[in-house]
Amino acid sequence: MKHFNTPAEELAILDLQESIDRFGSPLTGLIISWGAPAFDASELTQDSLADAHLSLATCRGDVTDASVFGRWLRGIARNKFRNWSRSRAQRERLAIVTDPETLDQVALKSDLEDERLVQLRLEIQLLPTKYREVVMMHYLDVTSIVDVAALLSITAKAVEGRLYQARKILRRRMGESTSWTNVVKVVLL
């Protein structure tokens, strides 16, 4: 049985599951949006969450406040991602490394028959960063706007605004493909 030294450490273990549930998926989405393949993003998320909980005592501010914890967690994840990127750059010098998007596409293509979904994923990757981040974080799993906002240190309204803009852009870019859906809708309704 671990003996806790500080209330913060105790809190860390008590709230571990909650923070994984709330921030696990959006953080993975955020790291994917920075350019890591899905598998590596999941590993980096696990590292970041574990690191955050192990060093919770060093966090300045009220760690029970989601916005404080979220900002701090994002900082840890950013550092982990930077280290990962540097290691990747070193690996590239030794061997040809395929870019993350291609890896994900190759991994996913086998079980995805729908060309439109593949196209949509590509379009998401091509979104401007601030839109791509919120889309990946919010839609990767069922994540609330509040948790996305906490991780990005912006307001929930701003997240909603970005999502709105992102969906508009995606709709425009997927325009030709969606027209068929619209036709069906019109016919059925």
């Binding site: 696990g24 899905a38 999941s42 574990a50 995805l112 979904l117 990767l140 969906r167």
Partner: protein, 597 residues
């Protein structure tokens, strides 16, 4: 998200479906986080210092005073001042310190750089001031000789002390005197020019000859330190900079062009000096434009001949690395060499099979077709022997690995083999079995993972960290580069193969905080003068590549290079200062030969 549905926006469900395949598995995510926390907690218990590297939960083990010393050592080479290098004042990792202390490092290092550069500029200005108003028409060689003698009478003892210290230091394993010699040479140059200026005797040929000679001498001196220094870049660069600087200055002043030499001959000699300086620079930098590449390693692996190039167990490390990095090698060619070698030395079968399986030459499908594995299993996994360690893990490696892929390999067999491997592991702690301890620990680790994919390696971390620290050579040694790992504890000499095994262990168990990482990096640096044989440069190159990719170790930054290679930057500044002192001195008046033409 309940944004009002709108025709000009894409459907949310469609986005979710598109991203569904990227979604992390919630259970795996939770388990992954918990496993990491448990691992870090258990490591914290067994090895309190590990957490500094694995997850940045900073322990405050070191006393405050030591931490400040280590911070100071991260930008100033104070750890070189003492012979008894102690890890408590080894440079501290930048990531392991608080924000305030990071700021100290950030601001202190540029200050040090500015100090070095500033001193050089001040030196230049003083030289410039001294040279003003010099009339070379009155230059008298006899007066110059007397002035030089007087200068040596006043300051010669300092120069003597520094040079004696610089000559003796490599025998004691010190590197600091070379740095002091470089700094003193800068001061000496300024002082010498000022002394001559007082007598109105500043002349380019005289100054240039002195500067070129001093740089040549320092260049030769720097070679004696090349094995001891803690530089990360090839130490021959310092020699290259100093010697090529000497040739460049010689090209300015043509010290050998006496007054009867024709101008065309003097120009020709200048071109010769410049060509020589360029050649020296090219040769001294060849580690970086013609260094060992992955392609060289592949060639080595594919053309390996056990008779001439060493042991197949060392070859396996190189082949394994090629497989891990995805570069690969031609297995058919190697298979041919392998079989030829087996034909010639059948007594080496067990060791060569171990090399074959570790390198990936013998894959699991071939291993499964190994017909003797049942007999081997009954021999190795006999429950009556469960407390007995394996006699020679290198010989039994193949048989153990082959047993583990047998279809009827059951939990009882796994249990006996695990117990025997644990007994072999425990035996490594004994001083009677410390020969090749790191290599054997690596083989055992690989076997633990082979027979039990979810092997709990964390419980062995404390042992590995203790062994790594005790095998690292941190004591300064005469004409030898420390920082690597020894084959056996009593031997105070680093070995590239043991160092490679140590780095592989760090891949599995993390980097102990007590390890002197800068020294290890320095040990693995490319050295053009010594990287002659594949037997040495192959394990060195692989260990270097693996070290730079270890998780938890930040890659080297420009700042790191500035800190570790202070000698090189000092050498460059000295060359700059002396070149300025020479170039800025008044040129000698035209010679009698020139006048007559």
């Amino acid at each position: 998200m309940n944004l009002s549905p709108s025709d000009n926006m894409i459907d949310e469900n469609e986005i979710r479906t598109a991203l569904k395949t990227l979604r992390p598995n919630a259970t795996a995510l939770t388990e992954g986080v918990r496993r990491r926390i448990e691992l870090a907690t258990s490591l914290e218990k067994t090895d309190r210092s590990f957490s500094n590297r694995s997850f940045s939960s900073c322990e405050k083990n070191d006393s405050q005073a030591n931490e400040w010393l280590r911070i100071a050592a991260s930008f100033a080479p104070i750890h070189l001042l003492t012979r008894n290098v102690d890890s408590s004042i080894a440079p501290i990792s930048f990531v392991a310190i608080s924000l305030g202390k990071k700021l100290v490092v950030i601001f202190a290092f540029p200050f040090l750089c500015f100090f070095m550069i500033g001193m050089t500029l001040i030196g230049m200005m003083r030289i410039r001031a001294a040279q003003k108003g010099q009339d070379v028409g009155r230059f008298d060689i006899e007066l110059a000789r007397q002035a030089t003698q007087r200068w040596w009478k006043h300051y010669g003892w300092v120069a003597g002390l520094v040079f004696v210290a610089a000559l003796v230091a490599p025998f004691l394993g010190w590197t600091m005197p070379l740095m002091i010699a470089l700094v003193c040479s800068g001061f000496a140059a300024v002082s010498f020019v000022r002394t001559l200026a007082k007598e109105n005797l500043v002349e380019r040929n005289l100054i240039g000859a002195m500067c070129a000679a001093a740089l040549g001498l320092l260049g030769q001196l720097s070679q004696t330190f090349s094995n001891n220094s803690n530089q990360v870049l090839d130490p021959i660069l310092v020699t290259g900079v100093l010697i090529s600087g000497a040739f460049l200055i010689a090209a300015f002043v043509k010290p050998y062009g006496n007054r009867r030499t024709s101008p065309s001959l003097r120009n020709l000699s200048s071109v010769g000096f410049i060509v020589a300086a360029s050649l020296i620079l090219v040769v001294s930098t060849q580690s970086y434009w013609r260094g060992v590449t992955a392609s060289n390693i592949r060639t080595h692996v594919e053309s390996f001949d056990g008779d001439q190039l060493g042991l197949w167990e060392d070859w396996a490390d190189a082949a394994k690395w090629l497989n891990e990095t995805g570069i690969g090698f031609d297995k058919q060619i190697v298979q041919r060499h392998f079989e030829q070698e087996l034909g010639k030395s059948p007594q080496m079968q067990a060791w060569m099979d171990t090399a074959g399986i570790r390198s990936g030459l013998i894959d699991d499908s071939k291993l499964a077709s190994y017909t003797e594995s049942k007999n081997d299993r009954s021999r190795l996994a006999d429950s009556q022997l469960s407390t007995q360690p394996f006699f020679d893990i290198k010989s039994d490696y193949f048989a153990i690995a082959a047993s583990a892929v047998e279809p009827d390999f059951d939990a009882a067999d796994r249990d006996v083999l695990t117990k025997r491997l644990s007994a072999s592991w425990s035996r490594l702690d004994s001083s009677d079995f410390d020969y090749n301890r790191l290599k054997n620990a690596l083989l055992l680790t690989e076997l633990f993972k082979r027979i039990d994919p979810i092997a709990q390696l964390a419980q062995r971390t404390a042992d590995v960290h203790r062994w790594l620290v005790s095998h690292q050579i941190t004591k300064p040694l005469a004409f030898r580069n420390g920082g690597g790992f020894s084959v056996t504890e009593p031997i105070l000499d680093s070995d590239y193969r043991a160092t490679l095994a140590a780095v592989c262990l760090m891949e599995n168990y993390g980097v102990p905080a007590e390890l002197d990482l800068p020294k290890l990096r320095s040990y693995l640096r490319p050295t053009v003068l010594y990287d002659f044989t594949a037997y040495d440069y192959v394990p060195k190159k692989i260990a270097r590549e693996k070290l730079y990719q270890l998780s938890g170790i930040a890659p080297m930054t420009v700042m790191d290079y500035l800190q570790t290679d202070l000698l090189l930057w000092l050498a460059m500044l000295l060359v700059l200062l002396l070149a300025y002192a020479t170039y800025n001195s008044p040129a000698p008046q035209s010679t009698a030969f020139e006048d007559s033409h």
